[in-house]
Amino acid sequence: MSKQYVILIREPEWSAEQVAETDEAAWAAMWAQHNAFSAAVAAAGGKVVGGEALEPPAAGFRVDGYGGSPVFTDGPFGETKEIVSGFYEIEVPDDADVRALAALCPTDGWVEVYPVMDLPEQ
């Protein structure tokens, strides 16, 4: 059978200038890294189920006080400099080497990998 994992990409925030000024060679290298990751997932018998790039914390907001009066705080949140810049969701066979795959997920910082909860036995 198979299992799903969410991989959070934790790295320093991307600035707009940084993205716009990335040269061709550097961008091609990033392409190659991301393709290598999805190819490795496919080679392991799995697939990339989803993935998104996230806007930086300045575009986001935090909500506290669920169940009572919500309190909204606009980002950035002044925590560690490694934000969640994006994520992948993958589905792989049970015997896949998830650590080896996660090690191929490109990041300038680290990645966090969380198994998605299975449905309970009926």
Partner: protein, 405 residues
């Protein structure tokens, strides 16, 4: 930058039919969708956009739709042809429900339009919706590769010049559904045994065919031929594990370890086969045939007489070369034996494509079993000369080696 282009193509290829379906359903035009997607792919390579790295398929789809809208807005003639697109926001209501939860099924129903010649519809659907390679389609549909290529090009031109605008047809249109069933069946055939290369199967084609058959069953739960198609595919798929041994050598049905067959698929398939057989249509019959093999506890206990009877019924409805060949093989395992089957083979009309190639291997095997080793050896060689699948070639080589002894 052709490496990056190749890598991008590989990444989106896995989802190509979904991407293509989404854009064609949005625009209503195959040509506009293709052109927009080409442009979107080109832009993906140079866009400094992190989203394209993390979700290339979604990026390409969205950008292609925007390009299509821009293209139409800039051109007066196109604005008249696609009035809805001019004012359409991106995620809007001209997108239609995906039947059975599968985008591609809607596309297949679109592609199997009665305005196209019958022999073209299935090929068109396979090529442009499902992305199957032209040579694989030609081989499976028993047509010469160049002729198939020309036929597809003419069909595309005809669609564009006659301004056929694809709109989702009435789901009750049974004629189109039959073409879609054919398309899915041929796709599975293409996936089951590759016409060339080192792999026996083209896994993705077989998997897509099964996904589409399941979507069809959800969309048309009362249709007996739809049940028959899904039953046939599942019962055949159930035997996949034993088609090759651990070293990749082809293993025939006769020597398969039946304990390794997928019991869940067989059980599900048999239930569907019963429904399909009740309708007496060609997919119901084929499900019944697959069931007779998959449900037999051993090769020796296979009910060959019943198999021949079902093939007779199938041939009355749909006298395809594949059915004629299979009937001859089945009858050779019954009381008539290989000699009678060889006579049937000799009486068959000349075949093309995969059927011709298989008929040579069938002839060789019948000759071997009829104790005519010299002729068998020559026939296996003839079969080899047309066979480009390395796994099958390996099998034929081994047969030649053991027959000469």
């Amino acid at each position: 930058m052709s490496d990056a282009a190749a890598e991008l193509a590989e990444v989106v290829r896995g989802q190509w039919s979904r991407i293509f379906s989404a854009v064609v359903r949005y625009t209503g035009s195959v040509e506009l969708a293709e052109d927009s997607l080409q442009e979107a792919l080109a832009r993906a390579l140079v866009a400094r956009d992190r989203q394209v790295l993390l979700n290339p398929a979604a990026w390409v789809t969205t950008v292609a739709k925007r390009i299509a809208v821009d293209t139409v807005r800039r051109d007066v003639a196109l604005r008249e042809r696609f009035p809805l697109l001019v004012s359409a926001p991106l995620g809007e209501a001209i997108e239609l429900e995906a039947p059975g939860g599968d985008d591609r099924l809607g596309m297949l129903l679109l592609a199997c339009s009665p305005e196209l010649a019958p022999e073209t519809r299935v090929a068109l659907a396979l090529r442009f919706v499902l992305g199957a390679p032209t040579d694989a389609i030609a081989d499976a549909m028993l047509v010469d590769h160049r002729a198939m290529s020309a036929r597809l090009t003419r069909a595309k031109r005809r669609i564009e010049s006659s301004g056929i605008r694809f709109e989702l047809p009435d789901v009750a249109d049974r004629g189109r559904l039959d073409d879609v069933l054919s398309t899915v069946s041929v796709l599975y055939t293409i996936g089951h045994t590759a016409s060339r290369g080192s792999e026996l199967r083209t896994e993705r084609s077989a998997q897509v065919a099964i996904e589409l058959a399941r979507a069809l069953r959800r969309a048309y739960p009362d249709d007996v031929e739809v049940a028959g198609l899904l039953g046939m595919l599942l019962l055949t798929e159930a035997r996949t594990a034993t088609r090759q041994d651990d070293s990749g050598t082809l293993v025939t049905l006769e020597h398969a370890d039946r304990t390794k067959w997928n019991a869940a698929l067989i059980s599900e398939g048999l239930g569907l086969a019963v429904v399909g057989l009740g309708g007496g249509g060609r997919f119901g019959l084929q499900a019944g045939l697959a069931g007779l093999h998959s449900a037999a506890p051993s090769w020796e206990s296979t009910d060959w007489n019943e198999i021949v009877r079902l093939y007779d019924a199938l041939i009355r409805l749909w006298p395809s070369p594949a059915a004629l060949l299979a009937r001859a093989v089945a009858s050779s395992f019954g009381p008539a034996g290989p000699d009678a089957a060889l006579r049937q083979l000799d009486a068959m009309p000349q075949m093309a494509g995969a059927a011709h190639r298989q008929s040579l291997a069938v002839r060789a095997d019948l000759l071997r079993r009829a104790n005519r080793p010299l002729e068998a050896g020559a026939a296996y060689l003839a079969a080899m000369s047309l066979e480009h699948n390395e796994t099958v070639r390996g099998y034929l080589t081994e047969r030649i080696r053991t027959t000469d002894r």
